[in-house]
Symmetry: C2
Subunit: 280 residues, 2 copies
Amino acid sequence: MFKIGDFSRLTRVTVKALRYYDGVGLLRPARVDRETGYRYYSADQLPRLHRVLALKDLGFSLEQIALLLDDAMPVEQLRGMLRRKQEELQRQVAEEQARLKRVATRLLALEEGDGMKYEIMLKSVEPLRVASLRAVVPTYADVSALFGELCSFIARHRVPFTGPALTVYHDGEYREQDVDLEVAVPVEGEAPAHERIGMRELPAIPQAATLIHQGPYELLHEAYAALMRWVEVNRYQIAGLNREVYLRGPESGGDPADYITEIQLPLSKAKEDIPCKLSI
Amino acid sequence: MFKIGDFSRLTRVTVKALRYYDGVGLLRPARVDRETGYRYYSADQLPRLHRVLALKDLGFSLEQIALLLDDAMPVEQLRGMLRRKQEELQRQVAEEQARLKRVATRLLALEEGDGMKYEIMLKSVEPLRVASLRAVVPTYADVSALFGELCSFIARHRVPFTGPALTVYHDGEYREQDVDLEVAVPVEGEAPAHERIGMRELPAIPQAATLIHQGPYELLHEAYAALMRWVEVNRYQIAGLNREVYLRGPESGGDPADYITEIQLPLSKAKEDIPCKLSI
DNA sequence: TTGCTCCTCACGTCACGTGAGGTGGC
DNA sequence: TTGCTCCTCACGTCACGTGAGGTGGC
């Protein structure tokens, strides 16, 4: 039996960590003295401790590790878990590299500064008959799955479409998770009833600031920034949900640098200037 | 001017994050209504927000970002920072991959199970005259720097050495940071006084459990585990600081798989069995 | 007896997310 | 008037690290 300090030195795990593992039930000492509360560890606990450390190294949370170990898991299964997690880690490395690339594009954006590359137009948008699918999806990336579902429905029922696909963002504010999205395709005619997909008329937008963005979606924030500057300078107010119209997108099979997107932002004229109370 | 919800939607930053940035002074709204507390943001704040997001993406903490941005930093310097951080990120990716390899070795260790590959010997260790350097270093990895300092001192003063280098771990328990290490090389004769390096006699160890480990240092924990099992089975107690003697190490220029290390663990016979109080 | 080791709280970390409970604006 | 948007706390997160204050063991 080893006192916690010796066990710590020889396993290279801090005393604080050992006490914490005890606290959460991940690795209880072999014996605890009733009177003094001293923890005593046995060499028999080393395999478990080493598994904890290995799984931690793989990026599992302690809670997950507890579940994994308490299942009296056969070594086979453990090995499978490790393999899968290893692959996931490799994917993460790939994602890190993608992040590097994103940073590089931002860097470029910073360097170029803000060229007035966008032409903002104020126009009205007609009401639009669409087949639409609205859903709360876990993350933003799921928008492509929604489009897949919608387009396969349209194709299956041979509904003729009359324009490019678009998205309406329904959340009152930005959310990272559980995003309320509506994807829509302008169509003619009818289609059978469906649980998630319906025909409806997107309302007209009397006044919308719009612009055309050419380039990858990662640079859309530049377009939004230009739009916001315009809205502020011209003293408009936001009056509804913005839409993105995909004039050319991934379905073209082309380079993301050639994607063309229109942003539509409903506006109304600001009624009054900012109240300027100079009294303290 | 934009209300927080609109600003959130158009910049794709959550309202909670915007309020938090306000709270820590990283991005204060252009205007706050005295009466209602409503925050109003201006399009002029977009460049700053985008910088914050870019720097966050690079892995800076918000505190660091605040410092970077408040220095009214010239674009040149900002660009330099980004470049350096980008390189650091690349290093991190490399480290992730190293972690993958570590995991792989642990996996192998798990698969091999515990072959009794170690021969534990109980022996006494003679007192040893050494040139030694004891210091509290930031992390474990700094042990090699200590060895560098010590060896160059010995070489400079032409002190003849009489045996392999070794390390004594002085912390009563394991620490990740601020590690109290002593590196030593057995020598003959004298050397001039030095601030950090001194001649001293390492005390004898009347009883030490020792074993020889062959392989990379990442697998030393296996050796320690074997040692601990032996100590427990034979009912000894730990009675001092363990040492590692580097019989063959990186200075050989060889493969880490060929490194040879001796571990010495001072022991005393356990005086009594575990008191077994069956009374509640 | 005196350090040394061990103990148990309680609090801090970092960048927000998640409510609760309440007010202003159209 | 009624939702809707906004507000301010307060608390939780995750895996410990950092003390404070106190006891047991040789």
